[in-house]
């Protein structure tokens, strides 16, 4: 068993709790949403029965959406009111280095370059995921509210816009779901470095070795150049 000092605290308890809430709500939203989109398949019909009928399914979906929006609000508040959140947000903003990092990462993966690019706390991939997920939540949240209070919104908007909104909600959610399942689950489960699962979502920690490998610039900032 590795020594306590071999690990770095990466996520606070609050952040881990919000992550659990976030993925629970996303799983429920995905199930209730996809069963509506693919209501013709026998599997969806079976699940809709479990969900208590097609209208109750909608109620579950909206409840989960409220939870998702709450986690989003928690995140926004932490950016505005906590030093840690504020710093992280600034580190999340794309810089010129991210583009060169990405090109180098592709080169590395293709075997053209031997060394990995040197990442800070957030890699270019992580930054991209962050912004894509954030925008998806904003877009899905807004379009979801329009579907939730459709009569209210149709006092202002014509029907075709609501139909377009319905379409965008459905397509955007499917895209988000697929990216999340394919990419995120690969990164934290199938990825050979962490297989079968990265435990940091439970413990909030990563090993110093992992940090030196994946976030060398951050490691250097925290511990200097020593080899642990």
């Amino acid at each position: 068993m590795a020594d306590e000092t071999d690990y770095v605290q990466r996520f606070t308890r609050g952040e881990r709790a919000v992550h659990v809430l976030l993925f629970c709500s996303l799983i429920i939203l995905s199930i209730t949403g996809l069963t509506l989109k693919y209501h013709e398949s026998w599997l969806a019909q079976w699940i809709i029965k479990l969900e208590g009928g097609v209208l109750f399914r909608g109620k579950i979906h909206r409840l989960a959406a409220v939870v998702l929006i709450a986690t989003f609000a928690y995140h926004l508040l932490s950016i505005v009111f906590t030093r840690r959140g504020h710093e992280f947000f600034q580190q999340m903003i794309f810089g010129r280095k991210d583009l060169s990092d990405f090109v180098e990462l592709i080169k590395h993966n293709l075997g053209v370059r031997k060394e990995m690019p040197l990442f800070d706390r957030f890699t270019c991939i992580e930054k991209f995921q962050y912004w894509a997920a954030g925008l998806a939540v904003i877009l899905l949240g807004l379009s979801g509210f329009m579907l939730w209070f459709e009569t209210l919104f149709m006092m202002v908007f014509p029907k075709w816009l609501i139909d377009l909104n319905h379409l965008v909600h459905s397509f955007e959610a499917t895209l988000g779901f697929l990216v999340l399942v394919v990419w995120h689950l690969y990164n934290v489960h199938l990825n050979p470095q962490v297989f079968p699962m990265s435990r940091s979502w439970l413990t909030g920690k990563i090993s110093k070795e992992e940090m030196r490998r994946d976030h060398p610039l951050e490691y250097e900032r925290l511990y200097g150049n020593d080899k642990g």
């Binding site: 509506l36 209501h39 019909q45 809709i48 009928g53 097609v54 209208l55 592709i106 590395h108 993966n109 293709l110 075997g111 459709e150 009569t151 149709m154 006092m155 202002v156 908007f157 014509p158 029907k159 075709w160 816009l161 609501i162 139909d163 377009l164 379409l167 965008v168 397509f171 955007e172 499917t174 895209l175 697929l178 990216v179 394919v182 990419w183 690969y186 199938l190 990825n191 050979p192 470095q193």
Partner: protein, 351 residues
């Protein structure tokens, strides 16, 4: 003596048709008079005249009076005769012991049959719809049961309001012109098994009525004759309303909720419930979208994202489809490269 024994039955046998004929003549001695009146159940006067010509021209033209009026055993007969029981002949097979005809069994459970059993004097029995002495086959153009006569000569005699609304509808106008394709009363309500709209077994019950409309509106060969499309069916089933109805929800809009039932009219008719000017009222019913504005009429109601006619919705759907495919392809390539590289490094480490 032997000769008499032989001749007497022969004479009787030969006389039989004459006797039977004489029997009819005996009935018509009274019932052949045009002004003959009897009293009905409520005590009012009612004509009991029977036109021999009508009877002979009917589907039952070869029967004699007492074949149906079984309670007439002597003349003059009693004051009140029983109602004729059609099921005596109209049973499964040729004899009564096999049970009544399926039409009767279905009728017995219908709203008409149930009202009859409750003793409602207005409830129709066989003769109310099919006629009594003038009963004709439904393929006879003079018959009440002939397809194009059903609205006016059969159902409409009692259901006058429904008939008036139907005659103004697109279905009623076409069938009134002699077109046999548009639905008449029985196409939606069925014939003998008519049930109330609140009866879950009714063909026009909330969750069954869509299937009723789809019989024709989902049939391309029928719709093309009227220059109509069938995509309204698919687009309805793909909508929130359609999905909910398909899963058995009763309080969600189905065809009838918006288009009406007897009074269905095309969109360009100003009195139609789906005329753009009337849509706010149709959609804005208290149970549906109270407070609906004219924005409800701006855009298609039956939206088909796969059709170019949907405009911007078509292009956005098309764009999103390819965006999803592209993103996933790029993602898979990226993951494959990343995976291969990391696996390679892991192997190196082990060595």
């Amino acid at each position: 003596m032997t000769r008499v024994r032989f001749i007497l039955p022969l004479c009787l046998f030969l006389l039989l048709p004459m006797v039977a004929g004489a029997q009819e003549q005996r009935c018509l001695m009274c019932h052949g008079k045009r002004d003959l009146r009897g009293t009905d159940a409520s005590g009012g006067a009612r004509s009991v005249y029977v036109s021999e010509e009508t009877l002979r021209g009917s589907a039952h033209g070869k029967l004699s009076c007492v074949d149906c009026h079984l309670d007439v055993t002597e003349l003059p007969h009693g004051k009140r005769l029983k109602k004729v029981n059609c099921v005596v002949c109209h049973s499964k097979g040729t004899t009564f012991d096999k049970g009544p005809a399926i039409e009767y069994l279905v009728y017995r459970d219908s709203v008409h049959g149930r009202e009859m059993q409750k003793g409602n004097p207005k409830a129709p029995d066989c003769a109310t719809c099919h006629g009594s002495h003038d009963v004709l086959s439904h393929i006879d153009i003079r018959s009440r049961g002939y397809r194009l006569n059903i609205p006016d000569k059969m159902c409409g005699r009692c259901h006058g309001q429904a008939l008036a609304a139907y005659r103004k509808s697109v279905h009623g106008r076409f069938s009134g012109k002699g077109d046999i394709n548009p639905p008449i009363c029985t196409d939606c309500h069925t014939e003998h098994g008519i049930r109330r709209t609140i009866d879950p077994f009714s063909t026009v019950y909330a969750t069954n009525v869509v299937a009723m409309c789809v019989k024709c509106h989902g049939d391309f060969s029928v719709m093309k004759r009227y220059g109509k499309k069938t995509e309204e069916v698919e687009t309805y089933y793909a909508s929130f309303h359609g999905v909910a109805t398909k899963f058995g929800e009763k309080n969600i809009a189905h065809c009838v909720s918006c288009h009406g039932y007897h009074e269905i009219k095309p969109r360009d008719d100003v009195t139609s419930s789906i005329n753009p000017a009337n849509l706010p009222r149709t959609c804005g019913r208290p149970k549906c979208h109270p407070g609906a504005t004219s924005n409800f009429a701006k855009g298609n109601v039956h939206v088909n994202p796969k059709s170019r006619d949907s405009g911007v919705i078509f292009y956005v759907a098309f764009g999103f489809k390819w965006l999803t495919i592209t993103v996933l392809l790029v993602l898979f390539v990226h993951i494959f490269l990343d995976f291969a590289r990391k696996l390679q490094e892991k192997k190196k480490k082990r060595i």
